[in-house]
């Protein structure tokens, strides 16, 4: 027996269902602009260019990747924050977005001022030492760095980058003092590690793997809270320092008032694309774990990253750019 409330619910469901169907019929009615807030060739750009054509194939409208580099990704993000929330302007960002609010003064809230759509994939950084170093584990590194305060240094691909922030977080959590040596880009850091110019570095996993396998570098820990499938023998730093968690990720978001049906449609479509063989192979080669999941999961990642990096930037006294 239906009572009034149930009837009302059914009617509501029908209406929303109809509304959703209508929105789905209309959208997308023209090409979609997917902003990549970095120069062509970076990770975020490549992911956007891999996903774009598959959306085109599925929905019949081209996805145009628009590279808007500069300001550490804040220029591209600013464009999308201020874009009309019609689903025709979205952005594909990487983990640097989670640190934007900590490193830059921005006229919008990076957590509540946007509409998260989907987290694409996650990976971690790896801590390596030169094989001539006596240090073999995170525990030994912490002990050595406590005795020789400030004598140990770590290289990074640039101030404010994930490798730098991870190192600063490590200093805070492990209560050690390390000297930061920034290089320009990931290539030079790898060279510095191999030449024993710096003691260690929190660097991208995939480029380090061949050096670890050939014995030119020794891996002592990875930054995500769980061990990686690619290097199961390397412990997570959190096994020594509980709660340590630094993750490199990619995700898509749009302007704040984006209609829910469009969010849901993008979320489902990208989640489907992530499961295709081509994307699975790409994830494996890049050492990434595919993510997917609901927009809320991506929201939580941005929120926790933003809070973490704000604290690190404040306590490590990293300058904030205008």
């Amino acid at each position: 027996m239906f009572n009034r409330v149930s009837w009302a619910m059914v009617v509501c469901a029908l209406f929303t269902g109809a509304a959703t169907a209508q929105a789905q019929e209309k959208y997308p009615g023209k090409p979609i602009r997917l902003v990549a807030p970095f120069a062509p060739g970076g990770g975020a750009d490549t992911v956007a260019r891999l996903i774009g054509p598959q959306i085109h194939e599925a929905w019949g409208q081209p996805v145009i990747v628009d590279n808007r580099g500069g300001g550490g990704g804040t220029i591209g993000a600013g464009i999308v924050v201020n874009a009309p929330p019609d689903g025709y302007t979205l952005i594909l960002v990487n983990r640097s977005y989670g640190a934007n609010a900590a490193l830059h003064q921005l006229p919008y809230d990076t957590v509540t001022g946007i509409q998260p759509i989907i987290l694409i994939g996650e990976t971690g950084l790896i801590v390596t030492m030169h094989p001539t170093s006596p240090i073999r584990s995170i525990r030994e590194f912490v002990d050595a760095a406590r005795i020789a305060s400030g004598k140990y240094n770590f290289g990074s691909a640039g101030t404010g980058g994930l490798g730098h922030l991870a190192g600063e977080l490590f200093k805070l959590e492990a209560k050690v003092n390390l000297t930061h040596v920034p290089y320009k880009g990931t290539g030079p850091v790898m060279g510095a590690l191999l030449a024993a110019e710096v003691h260690t570095s929190f660097s991208s996993m995939v480029p380090a793997i061949p050096h670890i396998k050939s014995g030119r570098l020794r891996a002592i820990g990875i930054t995500p809270p769980r061990r990686s499938r690619t290097l199961p023998d390397v412990p997570s730093i959190s096994e020594t320092i509980p709660g340590f968690d630094v993750v490199h990720w990619y995700g898509i978001w749009g302007p704040k008032a984006l209609p829910q049906p469009i969010v849901t449609r993008w979320n489902r479509e990208v989640a489907r694309i992530l499961k295709t063989d081509a994307m699975q192979k790409w994830f494996a080669n890049e050492g990434m774990e595919p993510a997917g999941g609901l927009p809320e999961q991506f929201y939580n990642r941005i929120k926790s990253d933003t809070e973490k990096w704000k604290r690190v930037v404040r306590e490590a006294k990293i300058p904030v750019a205008g």
Binding site: P40, G41, T46, R68, H180, K184, M190, E197, A284
Partner: protein, 502 residues
């Protein structure tokens, strides 16, 4: 012996029709990308990566590398014809190459670029074939202290670029160093001289500065000529399109030296083709019997730098393939492509995938031959461009410059910048301040400062690090000699002449 077998097997790989075809596509696209300012090899390769996903990795990488070295051939074309460096490393060519074109020798300038590029490019690939593995350790010996002393040595060459008035040269040098400091400081993360403009956080782009200083300024000068009624209707083309015997003899030395300089600089990750071509230019000017001709259309000033920026690409493949260390933007994108295909550049690559490595290296020999064949007949067509009346040519230069500058970041700020630097270039020309020292200090300044501070951080503040290795010591001594040369040389000459008189 085993290596020799691998080299031959590599030819078997790259001579497959499909790979020959992709080599051709790569070098052809590279030439076009090189001609357009702003769109450099990094962007060109990056846009291709997703398209090639799913292709055979060997073919895809052969094509992407083709783009990389192909751009160096194309970059000189616009530099010579319309004073617009099509690629950052062609900046020196837009000085003497364009002056040659104004004298009616555009054909010769284009020919010497293509031939010099071919000889040096092939020389570089030979170096890559023979020395790739032993040279890997050399790349690692260059740390911040070594880079700083190398930049110091390169910086001392500024005196050869200053022209008549040392004070004006110093002014240009300092302006270049000042521009190099704009942006977020790599060491401290502090924003410097950004004036609150977010676009300045990444610094002022090199291509933006040189397109303004060279191309836009040239248009302003041309407008003045038109206004005064002194402009030549179109540039004259005198003599044959080919090199004269004298021009050829003057070019051989610079090509070989440029090739060697380019390869060595290329092996060092972090230096790059622009520094290689500047070092070749200053070397040639120093060695030349008539250094006054430089800046006024000396063929050595085209042959050397163009050779250097080509062998640089082969040199840059050394650390990329053997260590997995990309030296610059384009090689970093190539590295991304390798990883995307599940191939790890680095120590194990030569053991695990000799077919791919040697197929790739051998394809570079073939690609260079293709580029020569492709570029030589184009000279005749490109030279026709000069017959365009200035009323059409100048808007064309502006259009190419604006599109090129906008293509880098899609930023309006860059367009305002090319205008500002165009005005600066025009004013500099009016008051006879040389532009070359500004370009040199802009390229070297940033790296010099950062490597100095990196070295000081590593050493805990002790300057002893700059005297700690044989490399740094040698470079410091060479820098001192280079600074003292202009003072000692005239006295030595005088001393010799006095001796003769007695």
């Amino acid at each position: 012996m085993e290596t020799l077998t691998h080299i031959f097997n590599g030819f078997a790989v790259c001579l497959q029709p499909i790979n020959l075809w992709y080599t051709f596509i790569g070098v052809f696209m590279g030439t076009i990308i090189g001609v357009l300012p702003g769109i450099g090899p990094s962007a060109g390769i990056a846009l291709l990566i997703p398209v090639t996903f799913g292709m055979n990795p060997t073919s895809a990488l052969i094509m992407m590398c083709g783009i990389y070295y192909g751009t160096k051939y194309g970059g000189s074309t616009t530099a010579i014809l319309i004073r617009t460096p099509g690629e950052a490393a062609s900046v020196m060519t837009s000085i003497d190459g364009y002056e040659m074109a104004r004298k009616g020798r555009a054909g010769a300038a284009l020919a010497v670029s293509a031939i010099g590029s071919f000889i040096a490019g092939t020389l570089g690939v030979i170096g890559l074939t023979i020395f790739a593995v032993p040279l890997a350790s050399m790349a690692l010996k260059f740390g911040p202290a070594e880079y700083f002393t190398l930049m110091l040595f390169a910086m001392t060459a500024v005196s050869t670029l200053t022209g008549k008035s040392p004070a004006k040269g110093v002014l240009a040098t300092i302006l270049g160093l000042m521009i190099a400091t704009i942006g977020i400081d790599l060491q401290s993360g502090q924003a410097r001289f950004t004036m609150g403009v977010a676009e300045f956080q990444d610094g002022v782009g090199f291509v933006v500065v040189v397109v303004g200083l060279f191309a836009v300024a040239e248009v302003f000068r041309g407008l003045e000529d038109i206004y005064k009624g002194t402009s030549a209707q179109a540039m004259k083309i005198s003599g044959s399109l080919w090199l004269t015997k004298e021009e050829w003899l003057r070019s051989i030395g610079p090509i070989w030296r440029g090739g060697v300089i380019g390869f060595i600089i290329g092996v060092l990750p972090g230096a790059g083709g622009t520094i290689a071509s500047i070092m070749s230019y200053t070397t040639e000017k120093r060695l030349s019997k008539n250094p006054d001709e430089f800046g006024k259309g000396a063929i050595e000033g085209v042959a050397g730098p163009e050779a250097a920026n080509n062998s640089d690409t082969a040199g840059a493949m050394v650390p990329l393939l053997t260590l997995g260390i990309p030296g610059g933007g384009a090689t970093a994108v190539l590295m991304g492509a390798f990883i995307m295909y599940g191939i790890q550049p680095g120590p194990l690559l030569f053991q695990n995938r000799p077919d791919l490595v040697w197929g790739l290296i051998d394809s570079m020999y073939i690609g260079n031959v293709m580029l020569l064949i492709l570029n030589l007949p184009l000279i005749g067509i490109f030279v026709q461009l000069l017959k365009i009346p200035s009323g059409i040519l100048y808007p064309l230069i502006i259009a190419i410059s604006v599109i090129g500058a906008y293509a880098i970041n899609g930023s309006m700020t860059d367009l305002y910048l090319i205008l500002i630097f165009g005005v600066i270039g025009y004013v500099f020309d009016k008051v006879d301040i040389p532009v070359a020292p500004l370009v040199l200090s802009l390229v070297l300044g940033g790296m010099m400062e950062q490597s100095f501070r990196q070295a000081m951080t590593i050493s805990g503040g002790s300057p002893k690090i700059f005297f700690s290795s044989a490399i740094t010591m040698t470079l410091v001594v060479m820098s001192v000699i280079s600074v003292l040369m202009p003072f000692i040389l005239p006295k030595l000459k005088k001393y010799k002449e006095d001796g003769k008189d007695e």
